[in-house]
Each structure stands twice: as structure tokens, then as C-alpha cells.
Symmetry: C2
Amino acid sequence: MAVTTAPATFADQIGFDEKLKAARAASRVLATLPSERKDAALRAIADRIVEDSARIIEANALDLEAARDNGLSTGLQDRLRLDEARLSALAAAVIDITALVDPVGESIRGRTLPNGLKINQVRVPFGVVGAIYEARPNVTIDIASLALKSGNAVILRGGSAAENSNRVLVESIQAALVSAGVPAEAVQTIDEFGREGARRLMQARGYVDVLIPRGSAELINTVVAESKVPVIETGAGVVHIFIDETADADLAAEVVHNAKVQRVSVCNALETLLIHRGAADRVLGPVLDALRASGVTMHADSATRLLYADSVDATEDDWRAEYYSLDLAVKIVDSLDEALEHIQTYSTHHTESILTQDFTNAERFLAEVDSAVVMVNASTRFTDGGEFGFGAEVGISTQKLHARGPMGLQELTSTKWLVRGTGQTRG
Amino acid sequence: MAVTTAPATFADQIGFDEKLKAARAASRVLATLPSERKDAALRAIADRIVEDSARIIEANALDLEAARDNGLSTGLQDRLRLDEARLSALAAAVIDITALVDPVGESIRGRTLPNGLKINQVRVPFGVVGAIYEARPNVTIDIASLALKSGNAVILRGGSAAENSNRVLVESIQAALVSAGVPAEAVQTIDEFGREGARRLMQARGYVDVLIPRGSAELINTVVAESKVPVIETGAGVVHIFIDETADADLAAEVVHNAKVQRVSVCNALETLLIHRGAADRVLGPVLDALRASGVTMHADSATRLLYADSVDATEDDWRAEYYSLDLAVKIVDSLDEALEHIQTYSTHHTESILTQDFTNAERFLAEVDSAVVMVNASTRFTDGGEFGFGAEVGISTQKLHARGPMGLQELTSTKWLVRGTGQTRG
């Protein structure tokens, strides 16, 4: 068992193992807790976050101070910051989760076999969910609430940059759980065990049922490569739009602008624009005009640069770039086939969209692009649990096992088969 | 990329990488192949297996000879053996798969969003499936056929003991595929690369979408621990039956006998019998009589041995044993709670069954036992894709991610979201 082979340097081994075991024990209580009890606990968490806001903001100030001292970017500092308004919004989001349908117990398939056995596949919680994320204390509340609603215990590793904030947040959540008669160990942090704790969480097969990394591509890649616990890979998006020969120019200008500019730092934002050579003269002008007006820098292939010299030369790196900024790779292609080939080569299989009026090409793109979400005539920014109507989002899975695309509560569950008989034996 | 960092000793590196790339290319063709084309290819495979039976049996004889020389158990030798009758049965099983519903393209969920976007979640093939198994050439035909029907390319690692059989079988399958206009590379073996090939298959993220190990607990554990490709864990079953205080004695004798004796070498066979102290006098006698009559050796706790002295003393190892033989661990417990605790501690989360007439206890057992299949008053031998009506079985998943319990064609698919719009942008 991985957790019994700790290196001697891991001083807090017993504390760590005890937390995992306590999570498993709590998960058994959560698994059969009725929705109304879980919703009461969620309301208690929302109340407590507001009541404890002064303490939480005080702890958060320590993290912000350290972030400034460590030269964290202003963007990351902003993600780290908690204030009254943000805590109220987080509390309101927790209340929203009470309104969602509890996925646990849903019957998915069932029938009576010829021999009279009644078989029924139902949704059950995973058990213990591990979450590894970075410097975003809002994720602590978010994941804890979604795990609770779906009947899972959760072990949180939020990273050293938000350690003070997360410690106080987990204390508040645990106090709320206890007040609602739910075991405090349903939500635990292992931040105090540092990187070694994260490493051991990834080894904890049998204690942790699934691990969800949220954050940078580097974080996700590390977890995917090192974890022995099953991982749901989320995130990285080298997102493409292909403007086909028949695309409407106004629609293309609006959709491309929205996909690139509306919010640049998210995984469903556009990173590479492909355009059919036959549409370059008619459509590319209006598209690039709109982007330029918002300050987008184009990294373009030579064919595009012949038409629009105010772009930067694209290199191989640009086709692989997840810019998260006002930069866009642009390439002219000769055909739908060349676009499909480019996407096959460079996509991270998150979201791709074709803009076209050609039915056959639209259907080919939908069928042949191997991504979690494939669109026709729509902004890639719609790949989102909220937009899809899930009410809350755990993340966007870019893998093919278990969940693919936006993950809601349902994706935080497993299934089991219930079989009811009257003494049947197999012949 | 793992596949580019081969040790110098891996002589056939280029051949290996080329096979993976060819599988990916074939998977793109398979993904959009209509059912009738896939079914035609399956019929061609069935025909070809029968036509080529002399060649296949000749190659199989080489493996059988090596197995005898290497002192393989008679049980394993029997699993390795192919003859006319077995090949005909395998061909018939391939034909049976043509009758199953193609899971690809099934619409799972869909709606029109308030902004008019039409979203639709559909089943798609994984892409490339890897299978690692041991000395069972029937699995070669089985997995290849199921992968083909579900639109997946497959890379097979069947183990050195069946290398000659598998090579000829894959040649026959490939010839059949080509005759049906399907790329030969849809089904490939990497047996020629030996253990290093298996190791590299487990590292081939991006080339292989999911890996399915089938065979001994040791094989499965190795793949689960070492693979960087997502794995679906199948198999190992320390399967329990709990005879509750109110169980019917005749029913218990029949069900326990069936679960233990009907076929001992399978993962859904009974390994540990728990019985409520209050039923020991009334029920345990008939149950053990029936088992004894079939030559079952009881490994019993001291309480059971007081009543039935012809049993062997159980040790801690017996509670963890997957005997695969006419042996059974037996323990008297004081309560349903003690039974649940024992199962929680020792179960491999495959299948457990309670025999009871008490409604509340039945429902508690169904709710609280954390296994892929949980039964009331039924033999554990029913955990089986064929029995569940799936028509064919890939294996029995004992993990919680993606698939749990018997896996049919549906479990060999992923999903993707299709989004059709008219130029929607996000506000």
C-alpha cells in the first residue's frame, strides 16, 4: 500500500494516513445521506462563510502579503484575493447548489431478466474525491460544496500560496458540517503536508477514488503523469475555429471576436484561427479588423501575412500555444481536410468550432473532430457547465474516460448494479 | 512523449511506434464507419477463422508444446488450446456480435439552450484501445471483435505463451478486415516486442486512449500501477455471501452451492461465506452439507469449527483469498454490521450477496456495500455481461471510473458534445 511506504523525511505520516482513513469513514456516512440533509449542510456552509468573513479575509491577507513578497503576477494575486463581495458571491453559489438535483440514487438502466432477477444500475458517490489546485481559494468552497452534494468526501490540496485562506475556509466549512450533523472529515485539507502530501495523495489507491487536478497545464500534466489514483484530466485548451469557404462574414467576425476577446484567460477561449483560402479575401478582413480593434496580436502564416502585413510571423510554437492573452495564431488552409489535419495535429481535444453554411462540411467537422465539444456556427466560449445548464461545474474534462466536456454533479458519481432475486442460481 | 524515449535495447522501436500511429490512423476510419460495414467485417472474420482453422491449430500446437515444456498447469494449457470445435464456437460468437446494437452515435442527452444553441451528447469510440492479457487466444478474437463493433482500433498484447496462436489469429483477422474494406491496422498485435512492448504500451499516452488488462490479479495490478494510459481495472473478486438471521435454509444451501461450485475458476465465484450467529444452527448445516458433497474444503473461524470440526483453521490470508478452487472461507458474525465491516475490510468490490427475508436488512446491504454488483437472494455467478443481457462482455470492471461491473459495447465508448448554432456569442 503506497501510504505505508513513506520516506523517513515525511514527518507527519500518521496525521496524513489518519486523514485519509477519516475521509473514507466520512464517505460511508455521506453515501446514504438524504438530499435534504446535504442541502441543510450546504446552507450552513453558506451562512458560516458570511459569518466568518472577517477571519477569512484576515487569513487571506497573509497569503496576499506573501504573494506580493514572492512576486506573484497581479493576475494570480487577483485570483487569490477574497473580500466581502466575493465571499457573498461564493456563499450565494453554495445556495444555488442546493437547488440542483441530487444525482445519487438516480436509476440509469434496469430490467427484469428472463429468470426473474431484477437488475438496476444506480448512481452512487465515488467515495473520496481528491482535488489538487493552485492559489484559488474559491475552488476550496466550490469543490467542497459539489462533493458534498454528490455524496463524496473530499481531500483538498490547494497549494502553499493560498494555505492560510484555505485553512480558515476549511475550518469554517467543518464547523458548518458539524452544526448540520455531518462528519467534519467530509471536507479536509492536506496543505500542511506540503508537496510531499500532494505526492502521497497521488499514490493513495484504495483511499482516494478519483483525483481532479485544476489549474495550469503544468500542474495537470504532473498529476496525470504521476498519479496512481485514477485522474480526471481537466483544462488545457488549444481551441480552434475554422472559417469555411461559405462562412457568413459578419457572423464570423462576431463569433471569432467573442471567442478570442470576451475573456482571454480561460480554457475555452480561441487560440488558433484557421480560414479556407477561398474565404480569405471576403471574410478575413472583417474578422481581423474586429480583433485588431480589441488589441489582438495576430501570429500568422506567410499566406495570411501577404494579405495582412501587420501580423507577426507564426512559428511552430504558435500552433501549440495556449496564449491566455490577446494573441491569436492565424493560418490559411486550402481545404476542410487540411483544417481537420491541422486540428488533429495540434488540438488538445477541448473545443473546436466550424463557421460554415455548408451542411455536409458542418456534419463532417462534427463527426471527424475528436474533441470534447465540437461546434458549428457558435463561439467556443459556450463550453461551460453553467451554459450547458448543469448549474455548477467541476471542470472541463479533456479525456475520454468517464467524463468528457463540462462536468456537473453527475460526473462526480460512479454507478453500481443492484440485483434483487428470489434464490436464483446459474445453470 | 514516452514512445520517443526508448532504451537502446529496444531494437524494434520504429516498428512499435509505426504500429501505434497506424492504429490511430485506422481509428479515424473506424470512428465514422457505418454499422453495416463493421458487421460485414465481423462476418468476414468469422468466415476466415473457420477457413484458416488448420493453420491456426498448427500454430496453437507450437504454443501447447512450449506450454508443456515450460510446465504450465493443465488448467492454463486447457485455456490455451484451440481446436475445430472451439474455433467454430468463437466464430459463432463473432456472428452474435453483429446482432448487437452499435453503441456509436447513440444520443445520450440533448436540449436546446435558451439562446437557441442545440447541444447533444453522443457516444463515440474511444479511438485506440489497448488490451493486455495472458495465454488465452480466444480473448484475441473476442476483444478484436468487440473493439471493431464499437468503432475502436485495438492493440493486442497477448503474452508469450500464446504468441504463435495470436500471430496467426491476427493475420486471419487482418486478412478478413482487408477483404471487407477495413484497414488491417484496426487490429494489431505487439507480441513480437515482448515485455518491453507491454511496458511501452502502458506509456503511450496520446496514442492509446484506454488500456484494458485481463487475466491474473498480478497482471492487473502491474498494469494499474505502471500505466500512464488510463486503465479500466477488471477482475479480481474476493466475493462474499452473507447469510442473514432470517435466510431461508434451502435457498441458502442452493445459492451458496451454486456460487461456490458451479464454476470455481472465475471472478464471480464465491470465496468467503459469512453467516449470522442466529442462523448458524438452522442454516449452516444444510449449506455445509451441500458444499461438502461437492468436495469443498472449508477454512473456518473458531466459532464455525466448534460446530463443524471437519473444517480447516482459517488464517488472515483466507479472508483475502481468491481461491479459484474448491475452497471456501467461512465465518460466523454477530450482526449485519459485523458482516458489512468484514466486507468493507476484505472485499475487492466485485460482487457481494445477502441471503435474507428481512426487507430492511436487504435494503441496507444494497445501499451500504460498496461493490460493483450487490445482490439479494441471488447467486454471485450472475455478475456477467451475458447474463445481464449485454450480449458480449469486455470484462468486469471493479473500479469506479467510467465503467463498473460487467462491461458491454457501450463501455467501450466515450462521448462527445455536438453544438449546433446560428452565430451565438457569449455575453
